[in-house]
Amino acid sequence: MTKRAPDVSASPPRSRSKYTLAPLVLIAANAVLFALFFVWPAVIGLVYSFTNYTGVGAFQFVGLDNYSHLFGDSIFFDALTRTLLYTVLFVPLNFVFSLLIANVLVSKHAKGVSVARVFFFIPWLLSPIVVGVLWRWLFGENFGLVNYLIEKVGGSAVPWQSNADLSLIVVVVAASWAWTGFSMLLFIAAIKNVPTSYYEAAALDGAGPWRQFFSITLPSIAPTSFIVILLNTIHGMKEYPLFASLNNGGPGTSNNLLVQYIYQTGFKSGQIGYASAASFVLMLILMAVAFMQLIVNRRVENR
C-alpha cells in the first residue's frame, strides 16, 4: 500500500492492510450500487449540463450556454433565493427547539419524559406529504383551526395561503415541527455522552444550570450540533414534497423551490440539459455549505 522497500522485514506493515479480498467482498454490493446510481448519473448529469438534451434522440453540445442562461433566468433566481430563505429560517428554528426539547428530556427533574418523548417523535414519522396535508388543514384560510381561534379572540383571518411570505412561514414551522424528533435524538445521544464529572465539578464550583449549559453542554456537543446543522441545511435545500402538499409552491409560483424548479424544467418541459445545469448549481451550493461548516467546526474544535 504505502511506499516501503521490499526487504524491510524489521518494520512489518500495518497488520490490517494485508487483507484485500475480504473487504472487497464486503463492499462489493454497495460499490456496484455506488457506480450505477451515483457515479454514472453524476457523470452523465455533468455531461448533459453542457448539452441541449431533451431525454430522447440526439443532442448537441452547447458549451456553457445552459449556465449562462441560468444566470439570466429570473425564475431560477427566485427559486434559488426562496430556497435559501427557507433554509435560513428552518435550520435555526429547528435547532433551537430540538436542543431545548433534548435538554428538557434528559433533565431528571421533568416527570413523564418517556410519554412526552412520543409526542415529539410522532411528527417525524409522518411523511412530508402528510405533514403538508396536516398543516394545510390547520392553517386553511376559511376553515382552519388557527384562523378560527384567531377570529374567536377578536382578530381577523390571516391569509396563510394567499400571502407568499406567510405561506412560507407556515412551511418553515411545519418543517421544524416535523424534524424536531430526529435532531432531538441526535442531541439526546450527545448530551448523555458528556461526562457527568464535568457537571459535578461545575456544580461544586457553584455554576447554575444556564452556566452549565453554555459552558459544558454546548461546547461538548459541538460535533453533534455541526452534524445537525449540516443535515438540516442539506434537507432544507432539497425540500419539495412538503411544499407540494402544503401550498403546491404557491400562491402562484412564489414558493417554487429549487428542486421543484429542476423537476419542472427537466420533466415537465423536457429540458434535461438545462435542468442538469440547475442541479449542478444546487450541488455546488451544498458542497460550499459542507466545506464552510467543516472549516468552522475544525476551528471550534482546535480552539
Binding site: 490490517r16 487483507y19 484485500t20 475480504a22 473487504p23 467482498v25 464486503l26 463492499i27 454497495n30 450505477l36 446510481f37 451515483f38 448519473p41 452523465i44 448529469g45 448533459y48 428538557v104 431528571k108 427533574h109 421533568a110 412526552a116 412520543v118 409526542f119 411528527p123 409522518l126 411523511s127 406529504i129 402528510v130 403538508g132 396535508v133 396536516l134 398543516w135 388543514w137 390547520l138 376559511n142 415541527w177 424536531t180 435524538l185 445521544a189 448523555k192 455522552n193 457527568t196 464529572s197 456544580a203 460535533p223 442539506i234 419539495y240 407540494a244 402538499s245 428542486v259 429542476i262 423537476y263 427537466g266 420533466f267 434535461i272 435542468a275 442541479s279 444546487l282 450541488m283 451544498l286
Partner: protein
C-alpha cells in the same frame, strides 16, 4: 471527517457509567425543580401533539360536519365514513400493498448491504477503502433530488422504469446506514477480531458469526429508519411510476390533495390510514429508535 470522531468521546469519559446520578447533589432540591421542568416539558409536548390530535379527531367527523361552526375538538357523532371513502375511492388498498413491498425489500437490502460496508470501513485499513468512504460521503452532497434527471435516465436505460425495482435499487445505498454501522464497529475492540484470527477463523466468518450478531441493535435501528424513508418517499416514486396500479401511498395522497376541489373528508381519512403502519412499527420498536445510541453493544 468529523462524523467519525464521535465514538471517541465515549472511550475517554467514564460518563455513562452512572447516567441516573447526574448532578447527584442537586437531587435534594427535587420538588421545587421538578415543577418548572415538568411544566415546560408538557407545554412543549402539547404544542407538538395538538396538530396531530386535531387532524386525527377531524378525520372521525362526518364530511358534513368538517366545516360547521363552531369547530369542536371532538367529533359529535364519530364515523369512519372518511376512511371507507378513502380506502374505496382511490385504489388505496393497491397503493398500500405496493408501498409495503417496496419498504420490506428495500429495508432488508439496505440493512444487509450497509452492515457489510460499515464493517469493512471500520475494520480494514486499505487506501481504496478510504477513497470509497469519501465517495459515500459525497452521496450526501448529491442526493437523488439533485440528480433527478440523470438518475432517471440511468434507471430508464437499465430497463427499470415503471417497476418497483426502479424505486428499490437506487435507494439501497445510504450514507447514513454505512455511517451507523461504521461507527458501531469502531467501538468494537480490534482484539476481538485478532483473537478470532488467532483461533483460525476466516475473515468472512468472523464477520458473519461474530460481528453480525452483535450489531443487532444497529440493524433494527436502521431497519426502522429505512422503512420510514421508503414509506414516506414521494418524488422518486412519482418520477419512476407511470402505471396507477403501481403507485405508492404518498402519490395517492398527493393526488387527492392536489386536486382542484379537495375532498377533505377523503384526504383526512387517507392520510390517517397512511400514518398507521409507521406508528405501529415505531411503538413496537420504540426503544431501538429512542435509544439509537450508536455506542450500544460492547461498551457497557
Amino acid at each position: 471527517m468529523t462524523t467519525t470522531d464521535m465514538p471517541r468521546k465515549v472511550d475517554s469519559g467514564s460518563g455513562r457509567a452512572v447516567p441516573k446520578k447526574r448532578l447527584g447533589g442537586a437531587a435534594s432540591g427535587g420538588f421545587r425543580r421538578a415543577v418548572p421542568a415538568t411544566t415546560l416539558l408538557w407545554v412543549l409536548a402539547a404544542l407538538y401533539g395538538l396538530p396531530v390530535l386535531w387532524f386525527v379527531l377531524s378525520s372521525f367527523k362526518p364530511a358534513g360536519d368538517l366545516f360547521s361552526l363552531p369547530l369542536t375538538l371532538f367529533p359529535e357523532d364519530p364515523t369512519v365514513s372518511g376512511y371507507k371513502a378513502a380506502w374505496d375511492s382511490a385504489n388505496f388498498s393497491q397503493y398500500f400493498i405496493n408501498t409495503t413491498i417496496v419498504c420490506v425489500i428495500a429495508t432488508i437490502l439496505t440493512v444487509g448491504v450497509s452492515c457489510c460496508t460499515g464493517y469493512a470501513l471500520a475494520k480494514y485499513d486499505n487506501k481504496w477503502l478510504k477513497v470509497f468512504f469519501v465517495g459515500i460521503l459525497a452521496t450526501t452532497m448529491l442526493p437523488s433530488e439533485v440528480m433527478l434527471a440523470p438518475q432517471f435516465l440511468v434507471v430508464r436505460d437499465l430497463g427499470l422504469y415503471n417497476s418497483l425495482a426502479g424505486i428499490i435499487l437506487p435507494a439501497v445505498l445510504t450514507a447514513t446506514g454505512c455511517f451507523m454501522f461504521r461507527q458501531f464497529f469502531l467501538t468494537v475492540p480490534d482484539e476481538l477480531i485478532e483473537a478470532a484470527r488467532i483461533d483460525g477463523a476466516r475473515e468472512l466468518s468472523i464477520f458473519l458469526r461474530i460481528m453480525v450478531p452483535i450489531s443487532r441493535p444497529i440493524m433494527l435501528t436502521l431497519a426502522i429508519l429505512s422503512f420510514q424513508w421508503r414509506w414516506n418517499d414521494y418524488i422518486w416514486p412519482l418520477l419512476m411510476l407511470n402505471d396507477p396500479g403501481k403507485f405508492t401511498v404518498q402519490i395517492g395522497i398527493q393526488s387527492l390533495v392536489g386536486a382542484q376541489n379537495i375532498n377533505w373528508s377523503v384526504v383526512l381519512g387517507g392520510s390517517v390510514i397512511s400514518m398507521i403502519p409507521l406508528i405501529v412499527v415505531f411503538l413496537v420498536f420504540q426503544r431501538y429508535v429512542m435509544n439509537a445510541d450508536i455506542n450500544a453493544g460492547l461498551k457497557d
